[in-house]
Symmetry: C2
Amino acid sequence: MAKEITSKSENYSQWYNDIVKKAGLAEHSAVRGCMVIKPYGFAIWEKMQSQLDSMFKATGHVNAYFPLFIPKSFLSKEADHVDGFATECAVVTHYRLKNGEEGQGLIVDPEARLEEELIVRPTSETIIWNTYRDWINSYRDLPVMINQWANVVRWEMRTRLFLRTAEFLWQEGHTAHATRQEAIDEAVQMQKVYADFAEEYMAMPVIKGIKTANERFAGAVDTYTIEALMQDGKALQAGTSHFLGQNFAKAFDVKYLNENNEEMHVWATSWGVSTRLIGGLIMTHSDDEGLVLPPKLAPIQVVIVPIPKPKEAIMTVANDIKARLESKGISVKIDDDSRKRPGFKFAEYEMKGVPVRLGIGMRDLEKDLVEVARRDTKEKNQVPLADIDSHIPQLLQDIQENLFQKAIQFRSDHSSKVDTWEDFIDALDNKGGFVSAHWDGTTETEIAIKNQSKATIRCIPQDEDNEKGSCILTGKPSARRVLFARAY
Amino acid sequence: MAKEITSKSENYSQWYNDIVKKAGLAEHSAVRGCMVIKPYGFAIWEKMQSQLDSMFKATGHVNAYFPLFIPKSFLSKEADHVDGFATECAVVTHYRLKNGEEGQGLIVDPEARLEEELIVRPTSETIIWNTYRDWINSYRDLPVMINQWANVVRWEMRTRLFLRTAEFLWQEGHTAHATRQEAIDEAVQMQKVYADFAEEYMAMPVIKGIKTANERFAGAVDTYTIEALMQDGKALQAGTSHFLGQNFAKAFDVKYLNENNEEMHVWATSWGVSTRLIGGLIMTHSDDEGLVLPPKLAPIQVVIVPIPKPKEAIMTVANDIKARLESKGISVKIDDDSRKRPGFKFAEYEMKGVPVRLGIGMRDLEKDLVEVARRDTKEKNQVPLADIDSHIPQLLQDIQENLFQKAIQFRSDHSSKVDTWEDFIDALDNKGGFVSAHWDGTTETEIAIKNQSKATIRCIPQDEDNEKGSCILTGKPSARRVLFARAY
């Protein structure tokens, strides 16, 4: 089975597609650009959702649900926002089909044309801020801290499963605050929540930074981002949190009376992560045998493969181990399908990235041993049956930590600091990854660099010192280094 | 605050709307027919989702996600199905907006017309069965047991919050089986899951039955339903589970090779419940003071209202009780907002249907007592502080059970068995509720009865004996009684 996937070095893009397909994560649907998220892929999303949702609630947010459709006129109200989304949106124009005459089959009923076209939400700032106008009157109504789990549609022409699809699943937080500083603090807090989730659960190291004007969200004053590095040396924007200033409050006339009875516009944030994270997860850890999953997000953490005979004796041990591990909160699957050989199953669960595999056979059992194989390093050990309860939880922790350290090492091996254009191009072409360099701060130069190198400014890192220098392209003064990469 | 809602007897429909609004559950949005589910309403939905999801998983189902859009041609493939949905669907015809010339503002770009129109899913049988064709080849691939949590759109002209909206949230299960009997068993099993959920969690008694041909789902061979009774004597279809026969397998050419290597069409079911359940929950239990929630679905099970002074001593006790109850898995909120008086808070939490309220004041505390008020009966008791830990869990159980028994009693008081047309109309007009009567079994008579009485056949109950008789309208022979009601 493992033989069926293209190796990473041979064709990275095909390797990715092969894993998505062979591990049963997702597939293209009959609808252009839309994917089907298959049960195993969706189970990973459920684990992500559940963890993120509890982190959102722990930081004071509640969930709600706003309409799928946005009136066309709403989209136009915030000037930058409409420019960002109008050219790639699904437009509902009619509300009825009918049988055409003369055997045309089902046609759109021309008499059922909407007075105003509706846009399938590409993001919900406009419909939500139109709603907040009625909810917010006084400082007592603030802050409003709402999150929504939803599907959104952006009509992308070139799509890739999980990474870029016309429809995707995400969460979008939309908060309203009395002061500028409180909104900025919220945007930064949610960026931190995303970074913590990426590193602690996905085992995917990220760099926290601020987007340049050219790369920020349409309608934002500042976009805070987390940027990860994939194994082909390309960067992935994994989550963004926006300080929206008063842009949407002004566009939708959302004001509140402060404690001095003065009317003020409300300050806003929005923040989101999507099923794109699954793409990032796959590309951070997987190898030529298939998917590799960090234990904290693996739908099945331990798979038990019983060697077929003698069935009863082996199954008794397997069921006992399963019960013991489940009582510790570990998810366990026993695969006793008698139509498949153990070797076939080994390859199958490697492909699916199950972190730990236990092989239970009579020869080992006679010595009170169980074979424990870890997916990340492919090491195998004989572990005494009596030690399984303590060994497995520790092993899952070790795997989680090992994946994270390996990813940090990869990023460190693929990060450069350069001061000349030649070194910049050399780093991008020959090493890939993040390149820290000076830039003169203008959008003009940023675009020129992109056109000449295919690298974009991923972010202005938040946690580095300001070191002055000269722009690698123009030689003009630069206030600090920024981080470039070729990106998804 | 309680004074602000219309009484049930004065205007039932306005009473419902008032509760939805004043309890902060939902509101109409700027988009015709679409609702905003507010945080408190959504929290109830989250409780429902979480419980249903675990029941689906316990019966062997997994979640997945299929596209929002359905190509127009797919909808036409199953003849009954298209008749059921074509006249009320949102149609996407274009994928881009642009700035119009001469100051028209944003317009639909006529050059971005889709080759084939896309329908926003009203239900997903077609796109899912088109997908299953590639997933199912052999009996080894069966059964497929998938559920999806999603939004759907049906372009309803007359909408009511939760009960009937253009967009709503739901789950839709879609299963594929090797045999007819297995599919029927699955459809019946899921009807039972819905009934168990309604009765055990919503405390809403339901009748299980089969829909007549005229009332069944478009594309189903048989529709299994659960029917509840609201306090205005109208029935509510609360959930349906469909045995789809081979209709969709034939329409989408989904076949499998059986163990004898013969090619067979696959057998199907689908089943769903939606945010409509929240409407049913509200109308089953609430009263003229507002919402009444069964403890098992209440986002806040216990609210503690501290009498303001002396703050510190009271808050110490409040926090201690909260911690003790939370350790038993009970959700507790302390409302120590000093800007609102206790009396105001009492009315507010009555409106929101919080099952138990604890009032903590110094006068009681000196006697080591706490005031415990239950929302359902409005009884108040002084309970010794030391007994709170054992008293509250028991009280929550009692409330859950009391609400269920009360609803059963109401249904029993509003159920009739009649044998003549006069008694039939009399029961509907003067008692409301379910009316058990004989019907000759034809669609023609069913429609005639509906036109003359506004009552529909809610179901052919599954758990009653077959008693022969004569149709109340035509006098023709009837094989068994069926259940009529005016309905939502």
